[in-house]
């Protein structure tokens, strides 16, 4: 009987994570490009379900939701920009994993704020490094810009990538804190029934 109920809670978790992935995908269509940033940098609320999944279950659950969301996006947009999708995947993970690790360790609203701040910083640093060594050079190859200078790379990163990720972190956090506070009693109740 014990094994049976464990299996069904696994299936339930699996389905919940799938639906969170769907919500992420639906929220992607609510995105709004910010007026002063280039159009390929778009802020969306797709990270919110990822973050919620990571806080309800585990950091790994967040990674799974992020994976589902990006795979769905890839399938729907016809892989026009696989590099951008990969970037979004990594950004989501570097944002969500630190937050949920801090939250699960200390609990409480304060640790959520600490987590959101450190998650934003870690994501920004990680995306800066990733853009410098991987993403921008790959775009360079696609666009026929094999000889990108490091000054060009650095200026792109400091003008475009870093402010964008900071802003994205701040916007998602600004949305997530009131949402989480509202949902908290409900989340605790669900955690008790599913685990």
């Amino acid at each position: 009987m014990q094994a049976k109920s464990k299996q069904s809670s696994n299936l339930l978790k699996l389905i919940i994570l799938s639906l969170f992935g769907t919500i992420s995908m639906v929220l992607l269509f609510l995105n709004f490009p910010l007026p002063f940033l280039p159009p390929y940098l778009k802020v969306d609320f797709g990270e919110v379900p990822t973050l919620l999944a990571a806080l309800i279950f585990s950091p790994m659950a967040g990674v799974i939701v992020q994976l589902i969301k990006n795979l769905l996006y890839l399938i729907f947009t016809g892989a026009a920009d696989p590099v951008g999708v990969f970037a979004n995947f990594v950004a989501g993970i570097t944002f969500v994993v630190p937050i949920s690790m801090i939250y699960h360790k200390y609990k409480g609203n304060k640790s959520l704020i600490t987590g959101l701040v450190s998650g934003t910083i870690i994501m920004t640093i990680a995306m800066g490094v990733l853009n410098y060594y991987v993403l921008l050079p790959i775009y360079g190859v696609f666009m026929g810009w094999e000889e990108m200078t490091s000054t060009f790379l650095l200026s792109t990163i400091f003008v475009g990538v870093v402010p964008f990720n900071l802003l994205k972190g701040v916007i998602v956090s600004a949305l997530f804190v009131p949402l989480f506070v509202k949902l908290k009693p409900w989340i605790e109740q669900k955690q008790a029934t599913i685990r």
Binding site: L12, I15, L19, F76, A80
Partner: protein, 265 residues
């Protein structure tokens, strides 16, 4: 909302490209993306363009739909072209635009790289134009099958993808319903400063998450009641089978690649 956004690009049809095995399509497109970078002469570019356009034409999808899928990248293609015109300084000066010299090398390089970009986008978009998302998911499950050996949960991933795909229209509708319900209570999503618009999303998300949980519980119960017990020994409604036309398509593509290598220098 549901009227203005049509999710996915799939255009129903009955061309032989539509009927190809989705796995074959994915493999061919993946190879094409790699081999495009091998083209380096006018003839080899011409050959690949011929292949891409012939394939696009044989899908029997109206050019209008194909062009619609390309709209987000037109800007990038033109941008690449102009950037190369400005920066590259090889070959002879052909003519001057407002005393700015345009080099022949720049024209050639700009054109070939924009063309490469165009070919990449055109061919990859043909996959989503002719294949339903659920077919692509099945194909991914099948292609990732070898990863099962290293304990990668291929079946679970495919199941999650199918469930997510199935619920996209449902949850889109639900989002629309909730946002209308909240708007009728006075929530303003469209105007006001950024901060207010972000705050306005909260009353939209709370019911969305709660109802997603409810749906998940119902679905889990329904699946268990029908005897779902994981991937082992589960039979499939849609079986992927490699047929003669798939072998022919692979052969044709191999021919295209061989000719490409003969044409490059």
């Amino acid at each position: 909302m549901s009227n203005s956004i049509i999710i996915g690009q799939y255009v129903p049809g009955d061309s032989w490209i539509h009927r190809l095995d989705p796995r074959i399509k994915i493999v061919i497109i993946f190879c094409f993306v790699v081999f495009v970078f091998f083209a380096n002469t006018a003839l080899s570019y011409g050959w690949l363009t011929l292949f891409a356009i012939a394939t696009a034409a044989s899908t029997k999808i109206k050019a209008r739909f194909i062009a619609k899928g390309l709209t987000p990248v037109w800007f990038l293609i033109i941008f690449t072209f102009v950037l190369h015109l400005i920066v590259t300084r090889e070959g002879t000066v052909l003519f001057e635009v407002f005393t700015f010299p345009i080099y022949s090398g720049a024209l050639i390089q700009g054109f070939s790289i924009s063309l490469r970009f165009f070919l990449l986008i055109l061919v990859t978009s043909l996959l989503t134009l002719t294949t339903t998302p659920i077919e692509i998911t099945d194909a991914i499950e099948s292609l990732l099958h070898p990863l099962k050996k290293i304990k990668f949960p291929v079946h679970e991933l495919a199941l999650m993808m199918s469930i997510s795909l199935r619920f996209i229209p449902t949850l889109m509708q639900e989002t629309e319903k909730i946002s209308k319900a909240q708007a009728s209570r006075g929530v303003d999503f469209k105007t006001g400063p950024l901060k207010d618009r972000i705050q306005a999303v909260v009353p939209l998300l709370v019911p969305l998450f709660v109802s997603a949980f409810k749906r998940a519980e119902d679905l889990a119960m329904a699946m268990e009641a029908r005897g779902y017990r994981g991937g082992e020994g589960r039979s499939k409604l849609r079986e992927l089978v490699i047929r003669k036309q798939d072998i022919i398509a692979l052969g044709l593509f191999a021919f295209v690649i061989v000719v490409l290598f003969l044409l490059r220098s």
